[in-house]
């Protein structure tokens, strides 16, 4: 049976077709990820809290607004490289960046953060001021800072916020809280305690005080105009990028975890990882298992006995406890997981291939070739392999989900490789931080579902390949 026949038989069954469609999808997504994601995505992005700071924490996917309605607010990010206006001011220059935020009156934004990257000045340090004009016409200054001046021995142009941006989380910033209290005292005549503002700065910014209920705020819907004013000393001074984030309660396609990580990205990165684990393990385990099985079945005698006894023992080692132990002692490395699963994965195939070879060996074809003087190795690899190849191929596919599931189980027990995010690890994070118990379903359902679908893909392919392995089925079709 040549590969084209195998494909044809596979595609003639329903489960084979579904499996092929799934596999194609998995491979395409994996290729996309390999092209678009950096290979060090794990350490530099996924496990780097700084890259997720501006995301809402534990936010449900954006499409849950379909049924959450007004309960949910979207995540808004405003970015600008160029000022909306720039006016000369004596010997200085004033640049303004304006962002308009429409507040519907429901939940206040979960986060309010300002970031500025890459500030350069020639002589006078830049002064930055963030103000918001509310729908009631009042203006509130949220933040003001002067960029650090020249240090000793520093020569112009002075570079600031190159590697680490200036980032202020206004929704929890003490200085911002003080400004809000000042604003309420002066413009509304309401004295707010520090405690009343604890964690409620955004409620105050987007609301009005409720009489008789200190610390409670009535949402004030309408258009809020945020203005960042930068006063620079010269027109040649640079402000690279200005970013204002109004955190939502929902985020992206797949939501976020408690660290604000975009789960969609983590899940995407899991595709090539899962496929690589599954395929690498099954290919190598199959090669070892089939070779030993053929050797054992063909050589007979002592070689056969030794291989058989060893296979018998080796195949009975309970996999999961040993994997846990070895990974725990030798280190949490993904390549090690794959190597160990190869080491423990081959015996099943050896036993089956050996018995098939024994059956074929007594067959006339091999006897005939032997009589014609073909060498032993040649016989083994040309004739026997040719006959059992489709079976070995089907076994390889069948073995693939086992490796993926085993890795997921290890990850779930907290033994995943920290430098490479996998679906199992995302699930483990969710489980360990108690996502299950507070109902963060978007965190635990999708990775599990992806593991199941990937494993199912290979199971379906195996079902589709059954006629290849079992010719009797092929005829009855």
């Amino acid at each position: 049976m040549n590969p084209r026949d195998v494909t044809q038989v596979l595609l003639s069954t329903g489960s084979g077709r579904v499996g092929a469609v799934f596999l194609t999808t998995l491979v395409l997504v994996s290729l996309f990820v390999l092209i678009r994601f950096p290979l060090d995505f794990g350490p530099t992005r996924w496990n780097n809290p700084a890259s997720w700071a501006d995301n809402p924490k534990a936010a449900a996917p954006a499409w849950t607004r379909l049924w959450q309605g007004n309960q949910a607010i979207g995540h808004r990010v405003y970015q600008s490289q160029e000022p909306s206006a720039s006016t000369p001011l004596a010997d200085l220059e004033q640049r303004t960046y304006t962002f308009s935020y429409d507040y519907g009156g429901g939940r206040a934004p979960t986060l309010m953060a300002l970031s500025v990257v890459d500030v350069r000045f020639a002589s006078r340090p830049t002064v930055l001021t963030l103000q918001v004009r509310r729908p009631d016409g009042r203006t509130l200054t949220l933040y003001q800072t002067v960029v650090r001046g020249p240090r000793e021995g520093e020569t112009p142009p002075y570079l600031r916020f190159q590697d680490a941006p200036l980032r202020v989380n206004l929704s929890s910033d003490g200085d911002a809280a003080a400004r809000v209290r000042e604003f309420y005292a002066q413009q509304m005549g309401v004295a707010l305690t520090v405690e009343a503002l604890q964690g409620r700065i955004t409620h105050a910014v987007f609301g009005t005080p409720i009489e008789g209920a200190p610390g409670q705020f009535q949402p004030l819907p309408g258009a809020y105009q945020f203005t960042l004013t930068a006063v620079t000393g010269a027109s040649s001074d640079v402000i690279g990028n200005v970013k204002l984030v109004m955190g939502g309660s929902v985020y992206g396609v797949m939501g976020t975890d408690t660290l604000g990580r975009d789960l969609a990205l983590g899940l995407l990165f899991g595709f090539p990882v899962a496929l690589t684990i599954g395929i690498a393990t099954s290919v190598f385990a199959t090669i070892i298992g089939a070779s030993l099985g053929m050797l054992s079945g063909y050589m007979a005698g002592k070689t056969d006995l030794v291989i058989q006894r060893f296979t018998d023992i080796w195949s009975n080692v309970p996999l999961l406890p040993i994997l846990i132990f070895l990974i725990f002692i030798l280190g949490q490395k993904l390549w090690l997981v794959v190597v160990l699963m190869i080491l423990f994965g081959w015996p099943g195939l050896t036993i089956v291939v050996r018995s098939m070879v024994l059956q074929l060996r007594s067959g006339q074809l091999v006897e005939a070739t032997q009589a014609l003087g073909a060498s032993k190795v040649r016989i083994m690899f040309r004739h026997l392999l040719f006959q059992i190849a489709p079976f070995i191929f089907a076994q390889m596919i069948f073995f693939t989900p086992g490796a993926i599931l085993a890795e997921a189980s290890l990850s779930f027990l907290g033994l995943g490789d920290p430098s490479i995010p996998t679906w199992g690890q995302i699930l483990e994070n969710g489980f360990r931080t108690g996502a299950v118990y507070v109902g963060y379903w978007w965190w635990v359902l999708p990775p599990g579902l992806l593991i199941v679908v990937t494993a199912m893909t290979f199971v379906l392919l195996t079902l589709g390949l059954e006629p290849v392995v079992n010719p009797r089925l092929r005829e009855n079709r």
Binding site: N316, L320, I322, F325, L415, I451, V459, L463
Partner: protein, 352 residues
């Protein structure tokens, strides 16, 4: 005679498994330098204990230190710490077998002991309860459903079952457990999400026992659900394969009623391969127990394994790896005996 011979071979193979695992344990421990750390910790503990008791009698601090140092050296040579790790292999194997692995880092048994032996043996019954109950339920349900499906081979129900078995193979036990917690415990408030007893535990022996059963429902259900599909399918295939055998046709020709043909000619003959598959599924259900206990916070050896990993407690991990292997080997042997009892071809001849 050949019956004993067959069993002896299987028994030797299983002992070989245990031996291989033990060797793997101690070599990994020795080569990574962990066994040194483990022994030093034991010695340190003993010396600390000695210090508190000697502090009463020996007043001079210098003399105390000297006595303790001498004792430490004695212990080091007793445990063979001055020799390379591979020369200590036999004694290491013995220590693992006896679970003589010192004390756990942070975990304590219910009555406060930190000895690894106490911890492991205390958790063992809970794991056994979970695994045996789930295995028995799975085996019985699977046999019943598998036979039912075999008599309806080729129907829509049969096809559906083959897809369900594929799904059941692809769904990890722990994820199924999480789904069940989300759905049954948190959404519908039908069953407890985990643990052994309610808080506070009910008074009275019977009430407590019923509470325990009530908490065991979800873990057992999870274990059964994830292994049942594949098992039903196996039974169905075995029964169908046997039903196509020629002697079944002969039995029908003999005018035997259908029920008798099913029992004596199909099920009886199919039982050895069915037991084989039960044997092969055992390792899986053991692994399933580790994960299921973790998910449901069921304080058996599996949950202990997880806690040992999380707290990086090496002594416990070693002990549990060995215990799980031991449990597996013992259960395998019981099933081997059952297999031999079921098949006269093995009882009186060679295994093919």
């Amino acid at each position: 005679m050949s019956l004993i011979w067959t069993l002896a071979i299987r028994g030797l193979t299983l002992l070989g498994v245990l031996f291989v695992v033990l060797i793997m344990l101690v070599v990994a421990l020795g080569a990574t330098g962990f066994s040194d750390r483990m022994l030093r910790a034991i010695i340190g503990e003993e010396v600390r204990g000695l210090r508190t008791s000697l502090a009463q009698t020996i007043r001079d601090p210098d003399q105390l230190e000297a006595t303790l140092e001498a004792r430490r050296r004695d212990l080091e040579s007793f445990y063979g710490l001055e020799r390379p790790w591979y020369s200590r292999l036999p004694s290491m194997v013995l220590r693992v077998v006896k679970l003589d692995l010192g004390s756990a880092r942070t975990l304590r048994s219910f009555d406060g002991s930190s000895r690894v032996t106490d911890l492991v043996l205390e958790r063992l019954p809970y794991t056994m309860m979970l695994i045996t109950t789930a295995s028995v339920i799975t085996a019985v349900l699977g046999l019943w459903a598998g036979v039912k499906l075999a008599t309806r081979a080729g129907t829509a129900l049969d096809r559906l079952s083959s897809y369900l078995s594929a799904v059941s193979y692809a769904v990890p036990a722990w994820w199924a457990g999480i789904l069940l917690i989300l759905l049954l415990a948190f959404r519908l408030h039908l069953l407890p999400a985990g643990g052994l007893y309610s808080t506070p535990p009910p008074e009275g022996g019977l009430a407590r026992f019923l509470d325990l059963l009530w908490h065991a429902v979800l873990p057992i259900f999870t274990l059964v659900a994830v292994s049942l599909g594949a098992w039903v399918y196996t039974v169905r295939t075995m029964v169908l394969n046997t039903a196509q055998e020629f002697f079944v046709t002969v039995a029908r020709a003999k005018g035997l009623p259908e029920g008798r043909v099913m029992r004596r000619y199909i099920l009886r003959v199919a039982s050895p391969p069915i037991v084989t598959n039960l044997v092969l599924g055992l390792a899986g259900s053991l692994g399933g127990a580790i994960l299921t206990e973790t998910v449901f916070n069921w304080p058996g050896m599996g949950r202990l394994f997880y806690e040992a990993i999380i707290t990086a407690d090496e002594n416990l991990v070693v002990a549990l790896t060995f215990m799980f292997t031991l449990l597996y080997v013992a259960a395998r042997f019981v099933l081997e005996v059952l297999y031999v009892a079921l098949d006269p071809r093995i009882r009186y001849g060679s295994r093919t």
